[in-house]
């Protein structure tokens, strides 16, 4: 009985936190339809700065082992966030200069919403990263997008903290 009360209190606290997160204005106005269009602008931005990196002459000496490989996304959005751009550009540079290297891009969603729809959202995120790499000179055969939807959460739990850690694309080298 006591245990169930604790469980109730925890679940209530979580759901309150979740409701609070959900009712923020940004989540109410954020639509996947418009975020789809954002992909293009994010990619365009990446293309512009990508040229600078290529011009710096350090291509080929990028140490991908030290780069960020998990890239996070905003709620119901699939545009590459600005805090992801520097490291994604470095991955792109490495891949562009190592044609035999390849990556898989695992797209993930948080648990809200239906599973197959989230499978599609996870794919949108992976494809947004794939496009970013592509416009930064990576051959399309070097990157594969695979969506896991909400099926492989990085962390369990329903608070916004865990939800935001689950909305991600994981970049994994299949060959270097």
């Amino acid at each position: 009985m006591r245990v169930s009360n604790v469980a109730k209190a925890i679940s209530l606290a979580l759901s309150v936190a979740w409701v609070a997160g959900c009712s923020s204005p940004s989540t109410l106005t954020d639509s996947s339809g418009s975020s789809n269009e954002n992909n293009g602008s994010a990619s365009t931005y990446g293309a512009g700065s990508g040229a600078d990196v290529n011009g710096s002459g350090v291509a080929g000496s990028v140490d991908v082992a030290n780069l960020q490989t998990i890239f996070y996304f905003d709620f119901d959005a699939s545009s590459v966030r600005s805090d992801s751009i520097a490291d994604l550009e470095a991955h792109a540079q490495y891949l562009a200069t190592h044609p035999n290297a390849s990556v898989r891009l695992d797209g993930h969603a948080d648990e809200r919403g239906t599973r197959e729809y989230n499978m599609a959202l996870g794919e949108r995120r992976a494809k947004a990263v794939e496009r970013f790499l592509s416009v930064n000179g990576v051959n399309s055969a070097q990157a594969e997008s695979i969506s896991y939807g909400e099926e492989k959460p990085a962390v369990m739990g329903s608070g916004e903290g865990s939800l935001s850690q689950n909305r991600r694309v994981e970049l994994k080298y299949e060959a270097r």
Partner: protein, 429 residues
Amino acid sequence: MVKQILVGVVLLLSALAVRAELVIEVTQGVDAPTPVAVVPFGWDGEQLSDDIAQIVSDDLGRSGFFSMMKRENMLSSPQTQEQIFFRDWRVSGSDYLVVGRIIPAANNQVTATVELYDVLKEQRVWSETVNGNAGNLRDVAHYIADQIFQQLTGIRGAFSTRVVYVTAEMLGENKYRYRLQMADSDGARPRTILESKEPILSPTWSKDGSKLAYVSFESTRPSIYVQHLATGQRQRIQSFKGLNGAPAWSPQGDRLALVLSKDGNPEIYVLTLATGQLDRVTRHYGIDTEPTWAPDGESLLFTSDRGGMPQIYSLHLPTRDLKRLTFEGKYNSRGRLTQDGRFLTMVHQDSSGFHIAVQDLKSGRLDVLTSTGLDESPTIAPNGSIILYATKKGGRGVLAGVSLDGRVRFTMPNTRGDVREPAWSPYLQ
């Protein structure tokens, strides 16, 4: 006397065994459920594996149509008509009374004779003698519950059906265990159909109940499989680049609707199983997913965000006429229709989260049936009485049920892992 005590102990033990397996908790009932008493059935032999009368009582109680009398409140335990004192049952408020007796038969069989009485009229309403294997007493019990349910409501019972669902456990960082399980409609007798370290989702029944289609990531990419339940034999039927998801069997069983993103983004396809012919039926840059068939097999309902947010659309295949079905709220997805095609159940988001809702397609009226905030994957019993769905309780995924009118609710807590993605079988006879 000694024998009676022994019977009492046996019944108590088997009742405990049932309880350990599954706890069904009816959290809300109909306004005036019909009171029914199911008396423990007579039995003289060794302890039976299951308490048939208790299972019958639990089945009927879970339907929400009935309030079941507790055994400890029963003044007597009649097993035949001559032993019934109708006045006692009338006084204790029972409208109907079920009595029965089980006798052993050859080859490990048992024979159960069950009678249903109208207490007010003091008349027998129905009686049947059922033969069954002593090892499968639950089948006998669910059959009896189906007959009684039909006698008292006029609706075909669906207790003898099965449910498949997925359980997931996080064993450590990046270590998971997924299981596809099948159980009785009350959650008992769960058994594993498939186990994998990679995700399993979207299980769906063929219309004859002999096969399942599902999505498995066991090759580290999503593929659609069809598995024969009797043999366990299976085949991978679709494995394109990108998404391979959301399989849905046509009512005739000859086609499978599914989602592929091989052409760039998720689109609905229809696969003709005999020939392998694949027809793309949607063309839109938005997300099109979660197809489900109308009962006539002529239309597909699916989720699309072509209007900006996910809503449910209907596509008439012969004419390709497209119609949007849902308008209330900004998120309606993963529709499922009742067998008469009149009611559409779905996941509906409002300010308090994601709930199960049902829309009357005749009147357009939408009713939100649940109040918890992470409800999904509604699946409807073949007789249209109950929707089973996945929800969270204490931070864990559990299955729950709600009647189509929203007045009856119950939860089916599971002892292990996160439970999700229930799919109710069709009638299996």
